[in-house]
């Protein structure tokens, strides 16, 4: 029984990480159908916002507010300048966003240097849960990820922006007849996706090395979370993260982690054969 607690907490941590990094992807790839290979760099931008904020004397919480704003602004600018021209052609999206990703990585490295950036996270100690000590920050991460997820769902289900976005995805012609400007909605949706990714970057920074290349580690997996969960639905992300995260954690207790990760990816391919729409389609 006691062994089960750290196991479930570890699984929850991984699920939360996947959830955080995939929510932005669920909007940009899942809803808007843009293959964004620069998604990882939006995460990196978030983490480096934390580096800058702390460098200027601010703290983690300030960065947690600043990063989504920075992500939103950069996302908005990039959408206007580049992404808006590539909605029609997935191949163009792949090339442009991959190019963008290379440029962002190198520019961040030129500005900040190659060595890992030092940052300070909140909650250094651990907390006792039913007699098992577990790092406090991880518990915070789990709670924060769930809260962000719930908030995102609410925005998409209840606000006008969410409705407009879903309408304009169904049919941009219909949406414009209804008085929605699809260009504006697309820009805001893309920027929101970037903002969520940047938020994930701040949350990940206390757990991992902050470098210009940190984002690429999350790219392929967030695609998979969205695909397996069901592109086109935000709630699918929870299903996808839940399945991949718990499976990977469980397998890693039994077989080498490398093999476990390969196995989970292979399983995802098989799932797509039988449920091409994902576990929880729109």
């Amino acid at each position: 029984m006691e062994a089960l607690i750290p196991f479930s907490l570890n699984a929850l941590t991984l699920i939360s990480i996947l959830l955080m990094v995939s929510m932005g992807m669920a909007i940009i790839f899942g809803l808007m159908n843009v293959i964004n290979l620069a998604h990882g760099e939006f995460i990196t931008i978030g983490a480096f916002t934390l580096v800058v904020v702390q460098g200027l004397g601010g703290n983690f919480w300030l960065a947690l507010i600043a990063a989504p704003i920075v992500g939103y602004i950069i996302g908005l600018a990039l959408e206007k300048a580049l992404i808006a021209r590539i909605y029609e052609n997935p191949l163009h999206a792949i090339l442009v966003t991959w190019g963008l990703s290379l440029i962002l990585q190198q520019v961040i490295q030129l500005i900040f240097g190659a060595s890992p950036q030092s940052i300070t996270g909140p909650f250094p100690g651990s907390i006792d849960i039913l007699g098992v000590a577990y790092p406090a920050y991880r518990l915070f991460l789990i709670a924060f990820a769930l809260a962000t997820f719930a908030a995102t769902i609410l925005v998409f289900k209840k606000t006008k922006f969410g409705l407009d976005l879903r309408a304009s995805i169904q049919s941009s012609e219909m949406a414009s007849v209804m008085g929605v400007n699809p260009d504006k909605i697309n820009a805001r949706a893309f920027a929101s996706g970037a903002a969520l990714a940047a938020l994930a970057g701040v949350l990940l920074a206390p757990l991992t090395a902050v470098t210009a290349y940190m984002g690429i580690n999350y790219l392929a997996r967030s695609f998979f979370v969205v695909l397996v969960g069901g592109a086109g639905s935000i709630s699918g992300v929870a299903a996808g993260s839940g399945l991949i995260g718990s499976l990977e954690t469980a397998l890693s207790y039994e077989i080498p982690t490398t093999v476990a990760q390969a196995l989970v990816l292979a399983l995802a391919i098989v799932i797509l054969r039988f449920r091409p729409q994902g576990i929880l389609p729109a």
Binding site: Q109, G113, A114, S115, P116, S118, A209, T258
Partner: protein, 392 residues
């Protein structure tokens, strides 16, 4: 990369054109004679973009420092050193392409550098058949035995064996290994097992994680259950930082040992590395006249940046090459290789020289990180490298 570097490259390019013209003028001379006058050409090849940028930069700086010192002091046997810097992007394709360029197009006399194992394998596939000298300057698993390949970093018997001796005597008899999933940690784990067992100790388990692992939680959970006397980490590069962050947050209260830690890591993350033990051939804290001069010169040229063993080994490689050329009286590869076995250099870490297996006799220093610096716990002095069955 800094602007000055670009200008330097441009200067070199102009120099190169001058050399080409000189080549036309002396076309009648036998090639060997022509090659023995004019500047000596060295190739620097390493990962300057991508995941190993930080190590590659330090390595390149140390290389440039050695070259500029030698050139300022009238060069090698009166000849100036020209150098060409190439980026292997930490890929085999990059390493092969650039090694070929250095050897065929730039016609360098020797190539120095490299970090990741796969790049030295790739570069060797070019340099060894071409019978050109390659000097590798990173501590590694140490199983290469080739006439044209020299290494100035530590190999397991210089790094792991002494560490295990001290750890089993002072920290305890059991350890748990966590490493990145590639050859250096895997082969080193075998060496650790053998060394631990020889001292009556035990490796409880060894786990290897793919590059870019974001969560070590489950592994740390298992470490906790296994309850080893100390934890041995061989995660590489950024994954080492990730591991340290999570290791500290779990607060296991275990001593951490990692021979991947050095001044570059400890100065970037003083809090994270605090208290960890490492074994390197070089730490900035070594007190010697040579090291003081080395650090001062480095600081003058590049500012207050950390130097690590990989960098110092690169610095040593240039000087060892210089000594060998002067001894051989020629840059002809075969003669230089014969001479390399007979020369030594007063390095920042102490005297270094090559053993008969082409690996440098280097120091082995056990130290503990203390707010970014390293306090020497025990200096094992110079250790002879052992590559089973290799004598060249």
């Amino acid at each position: 990369m800094s602007k000055s570097n670009v200008t330097r490259r441009q200067t070199l390019a102009t120099l190169g054109k001058g050399a080409a013209l000189a080549g036309v003028a002396t076309l009648g001379m036998p090639a060997i004679v022509r090659a023995q006058s004019g500047p000596i050409k060295l190739g620097f090849l390493s990962g300057l973009t991508g995941l190993e940028t930080i190590l590659g930069e330090t390595q390149l700086n140390c290389f440039k420092l050695a070259v500029s010192q030698i050139n300022a002091a009238s060069g090698i046997a009166g000849r100036q050193i020209e150098f060409i810097v190439e980026d292997d992007q930490t890929t085999t394709k990059g390493a092969i392409d650039k090694a070929r360029k250095l050897i065929n197009q730039d016609q360098v006399d020797a190539t120095i550098g490299l970090i990741a194992s796969l790049t030295h394998v790739a570069a060797r596939s070019v340099t060894t058949p071409a019978k050109k000298l390659l000097m590798y300057t990173t501590y590694y698993e140490g199983d290469v035995c080739e006439r044209y390949f020299f290494s100035t970093g530590q190999i397991p018997n210089q790094q792991i064996d002494p560490s295990v001796e001290w750890l089993t005597a002072n920290e305890g008899k059991s350890t748990y290994i966590i490493g990145s999933d590639y050859v250096w940690p895997r082969k080193s784990a075998d060496a650790i097992k053998a060394a631990m067992e020889a001292k009556g100790g035990k490796v409880l388990d060894a786990e290897f994680f793919p590059f870019g692992t974001s969560d070590f939680g489950p592994a740390l959970d298992r470490v906790k259950s296994a309850n080893p006397d100390f934890v041995w980490c061989m995660c590489a590069g950024n994954d080492l930082i990730t591991f340290l962050k999570q290791f500290n947050s779990f607060g296991l209260g275990k001593q951490l040992f990692s021979q991947g830690l050095d001044d570059v890591f400890s100065q970037a993350e003083p809090e994270l590395t605090n208290g960890a033990i490492s074994d390197q051939s070089y730490f900035m804290g070594i007190e010697s006249e040579e090291n003081a001069k080395f650090k001062a010169a480095y600081r003058d040229m590049f500012g207050p940046k950390p130097i690590n063993a990989i960098g110092e080994a690169t610095y040593n490689a240039v000087y060892l090459y210089k000594a060998a050329v002067e001894k051989a009286g020629s840059t002809e590869t075969e003669a230089v290789i014969d001479a390399l076995g007979q020369v030594e250099f007063d390095a920042p870490q102490g005297k270094v020289s090559f053993a008969s297996n082409n690996v440098a006799r280097s120091n082995s220093i056990l130290a503990r990180a203390n707010n970014g610096d390293w306090d020497v716990i025990k200096d094992f002095g110079q250790v002879d490298p052992v590559v089973p069955g290799c004598s060249l």
